[in-house]
Symmetry: C2
């Protein structure tokens, strides 16, 4: 069976004008790929009826599945229902069940439904409603016959990302699965990695990320953190889970040294916090130079008893002033850090009531490199354990300015994780 | 003269697969609007020739101006030149001047040009090269006659954002200006604001942000900071600047209370730093709770002598432990903060050798609200001046989780700015 193909249409003046960046479309593209659907086209139009109609006409002609987002609100700007009706040459008609749902959403909030919201219960003849548990706007599921007798199918969803995602996963994905692979199930698993660039990761994974592989392994990169999302399709849920387990094992065989945890939103700081919680030990972070992202990331873990705090200072001179401890001049031995800075670190440890210290020396100044790639600059990451032993790692990190500081912070977390693990086995 | 309209085509497998978010298209949309061009459609296609050809054919039919990004590299995946040639029904031919430029780019780096880069000097018959000072890939400027005798015009640029933007501003914008407004000039000015939501801002600006106004005023919002970009078109540069000056005055009359500075990348922390530098006074920031963005932002100002550092702690209890000063229990007077916390603040001020302190108490925990809107939660911002006087501001801030912490940090900077100004007039 040949792959189904799809087009995604994003609707809204705020997108066509460039005022807002569209992230719905990329999310939908990844989800459709997992369902075995090849996305061929993305289109974006503003809130202009003729442009919407044009986009739907073209999409129905060239795509098996059309997923649209936006334009389902109750105002005169919201034209998606009308555009689909016009593109398919069908009238709009009222769906009583949808009207009741919309009225009930208002009733819950103790309000009467404004007359204009009635438009949200209008559907092109032959289309049906896609339930929206979070909002008033139901989606539109419209089978769309072509002149040659074949059929395309339009799924129109709201533009609000949370509503769109919930509705896609709950209603659209199962519908596509039954079009494409009737009776089959799909399950996902997300693994997280840090430590190499995207192209090195792809090389090490080899054929595992082929688009035709089953289960499919999708790779995405966000600020140097790599996510692998495994999507297994099978006759039963158990079969999906078995396929995922064996694919996970294969992945760990190839890149297990870079793996740090599971889940879309799981980051290295979560892994660090879990280890510290288990040991009931507290961590303080010292960030020198031109950034302090770790202080922010660690604070954002939620009220955690093991995060002792963060300290941001310009340089080691300021650290010495803060601690009121002199730092002896460097000797020829480049690795006498522990000796020279020990007095400063002990002051910080005591002030913050911490067991572990991680220190970044130092984040580079990006203000002089705006827009251009930053050459790899040397820096040192120090980890001080509860006994006062200091381990140091020298790195050279460069790249696009927007990514340099997070990459350094993540390298520090990676080094901290390895020191935490080493301490456990001592 | 009716407005010209445009379509933007983004090309690349990384975009159609959802692996990368396209930000070029939004940038181009805003620039085209400033040139008086209405953008009607965005299209995205992967590195598949037939999809590219289809997209260009449709775009030439329905848009006066087509701006494409991506697919100009030297590999077999780079199909933009071929797709344009095919869509226009014209052969590709070698442009000697472009070939020489590409060879010279390699010569500068002491390398011989690989044979495959020759493809970057091939252009559809009738098209010309758009110079690319930063990279090897020249752009393509292809006048595109339609069957009805009218003409569209394709400008194809690289996908690398820095190259794309430089080439658009240097070559494409002047070409469009001469199509649309021959002999006219265009000048821009960006003003920055903080303190109200986008819809309140729009209401206060009223007809100033009409799309038909001259000079045009474009509004964009990034993490609650509002940018107004004024684009003036005139017979002379002097006339443009005059128009900009009077529009700036009108804007300041309406929303001057929210204005904090000029320039695309100018933020409130830059304004704060400028004041501190002038007075030779140092600032330390204390961030309590579940975030510490200010420590990061202030550090990122570049090596600045007036940023004394940042301190991130979980709560006032930890602040008391850090300072080794007890905090007396709150009295009935809700505003006795200065008295109760004074001993703690003096310790922090001395440790960091600071004059001013700004403290946020506290950033809310977002981990329990993932994906849903955070209800407005109460928090207090304290500013302590060099004489030890503490001013406090109570706020309630909520919203989408991704925006809550930056919004709080920006509210703190706004309060700090007003206290810095008040101190100057005392």
């Amino acid at each position: 069976m040949p792959h189904l193909n799809a087009e995604i249409i994003a609707i809204g003046d705020e997108m066509i004008s460039g005022a807002r960046i569209d992230t719905n479309t990329a999310w939908l593209s990844r989800r459709l790929a997992e369902l075995g659907v090849d996305v061929h086209f993305h289109s974006t139009v503003g809130d202009t009826l003729s442009h919407n109609t044009d986009a739907f006409r073209i999409a129905v002609r060239r795509a098996d599945i059309v997923v649209a987002t936006g334009g389902l609100g109750p105002t005169r700007d919201d034209l998606t229902r009308e555009a689909i009706a016009e593109a398919l040459g069908r009238p709009l008609q009222l769906d009583e069940a949808s009207l009741k749902h919309i009225e009930s959403m208002f009733a819950v909030r103790g309000r009467e439904m404004p007359q204009r919201n009635r438009s949200q219960a209008m559907f092109p003849l032959g289309a049906s409603a896609i339930p929206n548990p979070q909002g008033t706007a139901p989606g539109v599921d419209a089978p769309s016959p072509r002149e040659d007798g074949t059929e395309s199918r339009i799924f129109a969803l709201p533009g609000v990302p949370d509503e769109m995602k919930t509705m896609f996963d709950a209603s659209v994905a199962p519908a596509i699965l039954s079009l494409n692979h009737a009776g089959r199930h799909i399950r996902h698993s997300v693994m997280k990695f840090f430590g190499v660039g995207e192209s090195d990761m792809e090389e090490r994974l080899g054929d595992m990320i082929d688009r035709e592989r089953q289960p499919r392994v999708g790779i995405t990169v966000s600020s140097a953190t790599i996510s692998l999302r495994i999507s297994a399709m099978g006759e039963t849920v158990a079969q999906c889970e078995e396929m995922i387990a064996s694919t996970r094992k294969e992945i760990l065989d190839r890149v297990g040294d870079l793996y740090f945890g599971d889940g879309e939103t799981f980051e290295q700081q979560h892994a660090v916090e879990a280890i510290l919680r288990e040991r009931e030990q507290r961590l303080v972070v010292i960030e020198l130079g031109n950034a302090a992202p770790l202080g922010d990331w660690l604070a954002a873990l939620g009220d955690s008893p093991v995060i002792a705090g963060g300290l941001s200072l310009a340089n080691v001179g300021e650290l010495s002033r803060f601690a009121r401890e002199p730092i002896p001049p460097a000797s020829d031995d480049a690795d006498d850090f522990a000796e020279r800075y020990n007095a400063c670190l002990q002051v910080v440890r005591k002030r913050f009531h911490a067991d572990w210290i991680v220190m970044v020396d130092a984040y580079p100044d990006l203000t002089i490199h705006e827009g251009s790639v930053l050459p790899a600059s040397p820096l040192t990451i120090h980890v001080c354990d509860p006994q006062g032993n200091v381990a140091s790692q020298h790195k050279r990190i460069g790249g696009h300015p927007s990514i340099v500081h997070p990459r350094i912070a993540k390298a520090a977390l990676m080094f901290l994780r390895s020191e935490l693990k080493a301490a456990a086995t001592k």
